[in-house]
Symmetry: C2
Subunit: 426 residues, 2 copies
Amino acid sequence: MAKLIPYPGSIRINVAGAFIVDDEITPESGSSNTPPLDSTLSPGTTLTANISNGQSSKTHNRDIVLPHHTSDVSHIAVDIGGSLAKLVYFTRDGDNLGGRINFTMFETENIQDLISFMSKLISARRRSSSVERSSKPDSRTDQHVYIMATGGGAYKFYDRLRKELDVEIWREDEMECLIVGLDFFITEIPDEVFTYSEQNPMSFVEAKQDIYPYLLVNIGSGVSMIMVSGPRQFKRIGGSSLGGGTLWGLLSLITGAKSFDEMLLLASKGDNTNVDMLVGDIYGTDYGRIGLKSSTIASSFGKVFKQRLESDEDDTDVDGPVHEGNQRFKAEDISRSLLYAISNNIGQIAYLQAQRYNLEHIYFGGSFIRGHPQTMNTLSYAIKFWSAGDKKAYFLRHEGYLGAVGAFLKRQPTGWGRRNSFDGKG
Amino acid sequence: MAKLIPYPGSIRINVAGAFIVDDEITPESGSSNTPPLDSTLSPGTTLTANISNGQSSKTHNRDIVLPHHTSDVSHIAVDIGGSLAKLVYFTRDGDNLGGRINFTMFETENIQDLISFMSKLISARRRSSSVERSSKPDSRTDQHVYIMATGGGAYKFYDRLRKELDVEIWREDEMECLIVGLDFFITEIPDEVFTYSEQNPMSFVEAKQDIYPYLLVNIGSGVSMIMVSGPRQFKRIGGSSLGGGTLWGLLSLITGAKSFDEMLLLASKGDNTNVDMLVGDIYGTDYGRIGLKSSTIASSFGKVFKQRLESDEDDTDVDGPVHEGNQRFKAEDISRSLLYAISNNIGQIAYLQAQRYNLEHIYFGGSFIRGHPQTMNTLSYAIKFWSAGDKKAYFLRHEGYLGAVGAFLKRQPTGWGRRNSFDGKG
């Protein structure tokens, strides 16, 4: 029955009975008023706080409970991207058999908070490990604490992390970690992968083993598209600089919104047709001959320029602030238009890449999506529209953590196995 | 020797000896201080004014002189897009044999100016036609004035044009006009089509007959991509809502710039690395394993969001204007970043479409380009980068007038032929 993953040195997780936590406060943390980054995700999202000051760390309750595994994992994995740093670590559920994988996020800008958080985790691990060693000398607890790091920040902040945390740091390739993490989620975790439709916003896809080839579209600050043809067989086939960072940057400039959640909230209330130029605005009707509907967006923000000019004609105070004209356009409408534009664009490029390499399954990962319905709807629609229903868009509940989980899984602590290896023992 | 184009009803132009005017004021117009839309085009660009009030009509000197044709063309062609209306009409050079095709542009918003301009043209034609008829009863002058119209505005403004101009209006399909116009420029007009490189910004490609298949990427407010496999054999294979309208709209919102020329001027002075997040900003170095250079843009505007947050931390006056933080970022840098982002994105999608349909030649048309070096450089670079030198980007000096010229050519006035048909007679 034993089925170990075939890469030496990789972590083996006993995923028998694993499930994703939906609505509780994690044991190690109190409650907090910090709004989570993913407050728009529904249903079943609640807050969890963490041992940091709660200022910049954003946690949520999508921890994965592993009721049947036997031992501790002392290493910590971190994926430090351009905007966000994602942390994955293991905690035991008290003295019982079982534990959970914890997921938490920091803004890369506040790297010091991440380091403090990790520092506390490491101290706690060293304490408990030394207590355990003295009481149970034959314990399988892994005493060696180290950090698995990936993402650009694993290189940029390498020296700082080593110096301030005084631990060994293993750096892992970002793309490889994304793939290892995604493979794990697809094959091992129930209720993780889903398709989106307005009728059924979360239609779960059963965990399966036969998954290749597929396309991973990872949307963080920027976008990477990775073709995966087998375990750890992958190639970055494209990408785009128009990603989450573009949306966050432009919307913070234009609307003054201070968080991505605020932007998503604005977008959910907006009407993009007040700023976008539709086919109907140009033609007064459909452009039937080539199949463009009247409601198709011909030009994102295409209505803004000429309306601004009009408003300037009425405005004789040319020395006034240049942004006065912005008042003509609602932050809500602008947010929705840009969210559509970026999502649509990623969807189209993803489709073209999938078409080119004959990939039927397209998984969307990265911190841009956050379970936001309009984003997933737009991405799903783009794939469906361009492929005429031929290709399928998949989403993940841990979309932002692919790289961090991949890094977490790449090293083998003591006493860990994977699904089936522990069947009948738990 | 006669070589007529094989579509009944199409115009036949005697293009023997045709050339593009580089640096003169057209005879029918005086000089003007109106800045042309394409003031950044070099070399050899000067201004021409026109018979309108000069407020919203933008003309330039890229008229095409036809020294060897024999007769008048009284019809006028107009391509009314979402943002700009492009007008093409013929004038004779005094009483001599020969004349020229005139090109001029209006903002669609100021449709009344376009109508006034056309109204004057029509009156002048009717006058001259009646004078000529009385003096030379056997003249080949076409007395019947009518308008060839294409673009969405041909539908949207149809009733208004008919009513106010009191002429017959022939509506033609937009995509077909683009292709007819482009075919004409590629095959008939010398020094029209060129490739761009920093070393040689305008390397002209000889006019040629063997041109199919090719991809036309037409960038106006939005983007259309059209595969052309033969004369009038074409299919719209894709497009993007991220086009000129997006750039104009977002930059007018953020920078307060009031014209596209102002935006291009800003862009030419900017440094996008102040707002874009580069691979080097994330990694501190290259990401060599997948071939991403340190200078590659990972996320357009990726630096803005976190810097805005920083600036807000210092700002306790939360009731102040939300756009204060914009002062951190220079309009020049923002303009350059967005110009890069939009151009790069179009270049990538164009490459993917060309790859998919195995098209080697990619022509960029539409009013977005305007001979702007950075735009052409980015589009050329994107095609070169993604195709590893396999595909080639071509530009046109009349890039914005493909549809209008196509509409102009679709009807056959009296006494017109095409290249070679008049050889030896002129």
